[in-house]
Symmetry: none
Subunit: 204 residues, 2 copies
């Protein structure tokens, strides 16, 4: 209902930027209408107030990033167009190090752990590569659990990750997972060959 402000002293006329100012609300309302949802439906699903959503749709507020993110999820919106940008960048990213050649192995029935970067003893993250042997479908209930977080990246092969809270997770080369390691977990190779996995574990 409010077309084009000529930029007088609108109560909340955007400061000097407002690219999204007018559009954002329209987009969200459109998405909501398309799904035939009411303000309350969406607000509840996104865990925000009805009135807040109303204000957002009418561009009466500058919503927080968090709220927009939740709305995006709720409404299943893709976002690229919201961030149109003039691209140019001249970056020079750099990192530094401590190298490790081959690590020391630590073999068990189902795993072959190869610790990486062992000479640096004061580190907090523990990286290692594991070979998950292609058998032993047996004991995937012997959960491993330890306080902390873990990141896992499948280098080759495929496997299934079993956890105590969720359904098994099929993973193939290139996939990665991040989880709370206090939740019971364990994995089994599902390919004929052994699976190679890179783990990074963080104790807390």
């Amino acid at each position: 209902m409010e077309p084009v402000q000529t930029e007088d002293a609108g109560p909340m006329a955007e400061v000097g930027d407002a690219p999204d100012g007018q559009v954002l609300g329209q987009m969200i309302r459109l998405a909501r209408k398309e799904k035939g949802l009411t303000l309350e439906d969406v607000a509840k699903a996104a865990a925000i107030g009805r009135s807040t959503l109303s204000k957002i749709e009418n561009n009466l507020t500058k919503p927080s990033f968090d709220i927009i993110r939740r709305l995006m999820q709720t409404l299943d919106l893709k976002t690229p167009q919201l961030f149109l940008q003039s691209g140019k960048s001249d970056i020079s990213g750099r990192r530094d190090y401590t190298l490790t050649g081959k690590g020391e192995h630590q073999e068990t029935a189902t795993y072959d752990h190869e610790l990486l970067c062992t000479e640096l003893t004061s580190k907090r993250m523990l990286p290692y590569i594991s070979t998950i042997k292609a058998r032993d479908v047996s004991e995937y209930e012997n959960w491993v659990r330890h306080r902390g977080e873990e990141f896992m990246y499948v280098i080759s092969g495929s496997l299934t990750l079993y956890t105590e809270h969720y359904r098994p997770l099929m993973m193939v080369a290139g996939d990665s997972v991040y989880y709370d390691s206090s939740m019971g977990h364990g994995c089994v190779s599902t390919s004929d060959e052994d699976a190679r996995v890179l783990w990074v574990s963080l104790e807390i």
Copy 2:
């Protein structure tokens, strides 16, 4: 201000109300450091306060959508990964793990960062895969440095890691490195092809 609806509580469950926990700030700081910019540089360019940016990077505030958008533009960041919801938009779903298939990219002049496991926002380690483009041998004195530790694993290709303390380090697929990231560091692809690298970064 957490009404917290039906949320029970996964150990590190997120998705539902999850403020943009740990990752958002890290991403922004990473991008800034890579460009060798100071808080003030970026803040000025994005027309926000220096302190505000500091708080955002340290996840001490829930920035507005508008501010994030401006930062994205200033830092030339692609954004899809911030809104990543793997699979369904049913927010009732909670998980304490995230599975990432092929990722969402964030490209710069020399790097192409692909963040992994982005929808789990409260994690402490930040994993991502980078493609180091096969050129730009130029500016390897622009060290990046940031408080914390980093682990790096070369998936494919080869590269040279330059640091301010040690001699350059030649690395090939399968090699890995662990280092204190407060030491200036940076790397350059030495093969004809781009190098693929898996990084796990931990802020302290």
